[in-house]
């Protein structure tokens, strides 16, 4: 059957079993919107800003195993989407973004709402396409989905000129894709895996360091099985939280700039390090020279060869999918009588327990006085039984969320780690809530971040998304203020948030429930009340201690073991 390009686009999305499409209309995508109108398989979620469309698709993808999909118009629609696309790119999130473009003949003429979308997005997508012929639409979209979710995932953009969506051709969705130039390695090298196992079995002070790749590769079960079988300590990056159950005794917490004492010390002093789907980020290992000053053997499993030996030289590189490689390691381990040597492992664990006794996350919540932000997150964890989906924005509240909400399952923690995009939290929560109707979804945010996409409260109303917004309102761009306190002599240049709205009333104006909480004794009750409201978005404005800082902290450029554990260390 001969159909229009616009209908082909929609048929492709149906073929890919897309249930939600996040978008915003405009001239260049009118034919596509017209086709959307005529069907009901792909549901469109109208956001209030294109950045939010991408974050929502992103939240949807992070909390499921699926690809998130968004649709924007040409020019400003596409440029508004760029921050969202870059956010997904930095955290390797599979997205397909369809953007409208001016008609083919107008390209290059400085036409109305023309920008070089493919050029602008090139450095922040896994790949992008400009469709030049209606006959290429189906194959291009097929490729886009395939590229987005295979290998190291990432956003893929398809730019389609308006005239092409109006032209007609025969539609057939390709069953398979093959690209001679793109063949990601999935299975790890058997010899390397054997070598890795040998090293692990001989380790005296082992450490497992797992990152976002384990979540992206849906290999949390295998990682957990392997770590338990070996009896090793395990740490997660910010992106890896939930890859290993946080309440398990073998878990030593998050590592890095705001990581746990025991995790950072363990990372530094281990003699064999198993790095799984983690990329030795500068916020994770601190000063690389300091990190390398302690000799250790490193095994690194990653699907992207360019992640390996980029910042830290590794001894046993294994290129492949985490699930495949961990599966093979487990099978090898099952077939050998060898076990890690219990005595040295015991000594190592004693050391780790000693570090753990420093209790680096302790804080003091008085019965009176100001609410401590950490206390709110801890109560949130208790009230939700540790089983909520939690999104966050960027800043101090993000770190407290990561430290005090103990994620036992993957894909529950949704945050922007690589780009650190303020404004991510609320729209991401929309995607999460749509993907998991009926599940509790909390968005932990700051009064700076929430105002970057607060207009989405309107989308939440329209689509009846009962998100619980947990605003840790400290009246400051807290993370900036913390750095100014520590490194710029308390000169709080432009980090005070003046003229703040009354958030609970603002939420009410959008048609939601708003609560303001300013006493420690009211925190738990307010949270319990909020999570009982299954159909309403509840916006909780917690007035928290404005002077609180995030500890532990490793200052930029310093070694992992140089931690400021609390204000007393300053």
């Amino acid at each position: 059957m001969v159909i229009t390009g616009a209908e082909i686009v929609i048929r492709c999305l149906q073929e890919e079993k897309v249930d939600y499409l996040f978008g915003y209309p405009g001239g260049a995508v009118l034919y596509i919107y017209d086709e959307l109108f005529k069907q009901d398989k792909v549901r469109h979620v109208l956001v209030r800003h294109e950045q939010a469309a991408i974050h929502a698709a992103d939240g949807y993808a992070r909390s499921t195993e699926k690809v998130g999909v968004a649709l924007v118009t040409s020019g400003p629609g596409a440029t508004n989407a760029v921050t969202g696309i870059a956010t997904a790119y930095c955290d390797s999130i599979p997205l397909v973004i369809i953007s409208g473009q001016v008609p083919s003949a107008a390209i290059g003429q400085d036409a109305f709402q023309e920008v070089d979308t493919v050029g602008i997005t090139r450095p922040c997508v896994k790949h992008n396409f400009l469709v030049r012929d209606v006959r290429d639409i189906a194959e291009t979209i097929k490729k886009a989905f395939y590229l987005a979710k295979t290998g190291r995932p990432g956003p893929v953009l398809v730019d389609i000129p308006k005239d092409i969506t109006a032209q007609k051709c025969e539609f057939a969705y390709p069953e398979t894709v093959s690209m001679r130039s793109y063949n990601p390695v999935v299975k790890g090298h058997h010899g390397q895996i054997k070598k890795a196992l040998q090293l692990l079995l001989e380790a005296k002070r082992p450490m497992v360091y797992a990152g976002g790749g384990v979540v992206l590769g849906d290999a949390a079960d295998k990682l957990t099985a392997l770590v338990r079988k070996l009896g090793f300590p395990c740490t997660n990056t910010l992106m890896g939280l939930g890859a290993y159950p946080a309440t398990d005794r073998q878990f030593v917490g998050m590592l890095g700039m705001h990581g746990n004492y025991e995790a950072n010390m363990g990372m530094h002093y281990c003699d064999v390090l198993l790095a799984v789907g983690a990329r030795f980020d500068d916020r994770v290992i601190g000063n690389p020279a300091h990190f390398s000053s302690e000799p250790r053997k490193i095994i690194h499993i990653d699907i992207d060869p360019s992640s390996i030996s980029k910042r830290v030289k590794v001894d046993v590189p294994i290129v492949g999918d985490v699930g495949e490689v961990l599966g093979e390691l487990l099978a090898l381990l099952d077939n050998t009588a060898e076990k890690p040597e219990p005595q040295s492992l015991g000594v190592w664990w004693k050391q780790i327990e000693e570090w753990r006794r420093r209790d680096c996350l302790k804080f003091n919540q008085g019965e009176e006085g100001l609410i401590k932000p950490q206390f709110v997150v801890q109560k949130l964890w208790e009230v939700t039984g540790g089983d909520a989906f939690v999104t966050s924005d960027v800043g101090q509240h993000q770190m407290w969320a990561a430290q005090y909400y103990k994620f036992d399952k993957p894909r529950r923690w949704v945050n922007s780690g690589g780009l650190g995009t303020m404004g991510f939290g609320l729209p991401a929560a929309m995607g999460v809530q749509l993907a998991h109707p009926g599940s509790p979804v909390a968005c932990i945010t700051g009064e700076g971040s929430i105002q970057m996409n607060i207009q989405e409260l309107s989308t939440c109303k329209q689509f009846r998304l009962p998100i619980k917004v947990i605003l840790l309102n400290n009246g400051f761009l807290g993370m900036v203020r913390q750095w100014q306190e520590l490194f710029h002599g308390n000169r709080y240049s432009e980090s005070y948030m003046d003229a703040l709205p009354d958030f609970s009333r603002l939420a009410e104006a959008y048609g939601h429930v708003g609560i303001k909480v300013d006493k420690p004794g009211d925190v738990e009750g307010a949270l319990r009340e909020a999570f009982k409201q299954k159909n309403d978005l509840v916006f909780m404005d917690f007035q928290v201690d404005p002077t609180e800082n995030v500890y532990p902290m490793v200052k930029g450029g310093q070694g992992l073991t140089d931690m400021i554990l609390s204000a007393e260390d300053l």
Binding site: S181, M265, A289, S306, G557, D562
Partner: protein, 194 residues
């Protein structure tokens, strides 16, 4: 228990300096010249993906040449770059990661041939006219355009040969030069093909 471990090394100015130095080395490293050859899908925008990669990551490009191959669906590029082994390893990995790149080799890892084409327009009047002709012959160049005041000399060879030709003639007589950048190919059995 802690005796098991060495005392935690505090970051010192010295370590910091090392770190900085390392960073600088990575950014600025110019110690080794590499000739990288690659096959890429012959599609619009492919070249900008490669050049964008180099500028975004701060890699050097000394020259870059590109043209379709006998199979017109593919283009072949030769990129001359420089960097430490680590940097060049990242360059080849990042190039391989580009979705449209089919194959990448570092030609300078083994025996290979490099050639570059140069066209030089020189002033050729009076006694210089004979001299220029002689120089072109010495360097096995060809004069491919003649007017009563100028020659265009075509010269092919390694970068070094072209450099020495430019060095050998009187710089005051050079009106214009244009160089193609390097094309490279492996010697013997080494073949870059899909």
């Amino acid at each position: 228990m802690t005796s098991l471990l060495r005392p935690p090394p505090k970051s010192s100015p010295e370590l910091d300096a090392n770190w900085l130095r390392e960073l600088l080395v990575i950014q600025k490293n110019t110690n080794m010249r590499h000739v990288i050859s690659l096959l890429i899908e012959n599609e619009a925008g492919a070249l900008s993906r490669v050049s964008g990669l180099f500028s975004a990551r701060g890699y050097n490009i000394e020259s870059l040449t590109v043209a379709p191959t006998e199979d017109t669906s593919l283009s072949r590029m030769t990129i001359v770059t420089s960097g430490s082994d680590d940097v060049v390893e990242q360059i080849t990995k990042q190039l391989n990661k580009l979705v449209e790149v089919v194959k990448v080799v570092d030609l300078s890892e083994s025996a290979h041939i490099e050639r570059e084409l140069m066209l030089v327009k020189v002033r050729a009047t009076g006694k210089d006219r004979e001299e220029m002709k002689r120089m072109a012959e010495i360097f096995r160049g060809r004069i491919i355009d003649v007017t009563d005041a100028s020659y265009v000399i075509e010269l092919t060879g390694t970068q070094a040969k072209l450099d020495s030709f430019v060095g050998a003639i009187d710089s005051g007589l050079i009106l214009e030069t244009v160089r193609s950048g390097i094309c490279g190919i492996g010697r013997g059995d080494r073949v870059l093909k899909v």
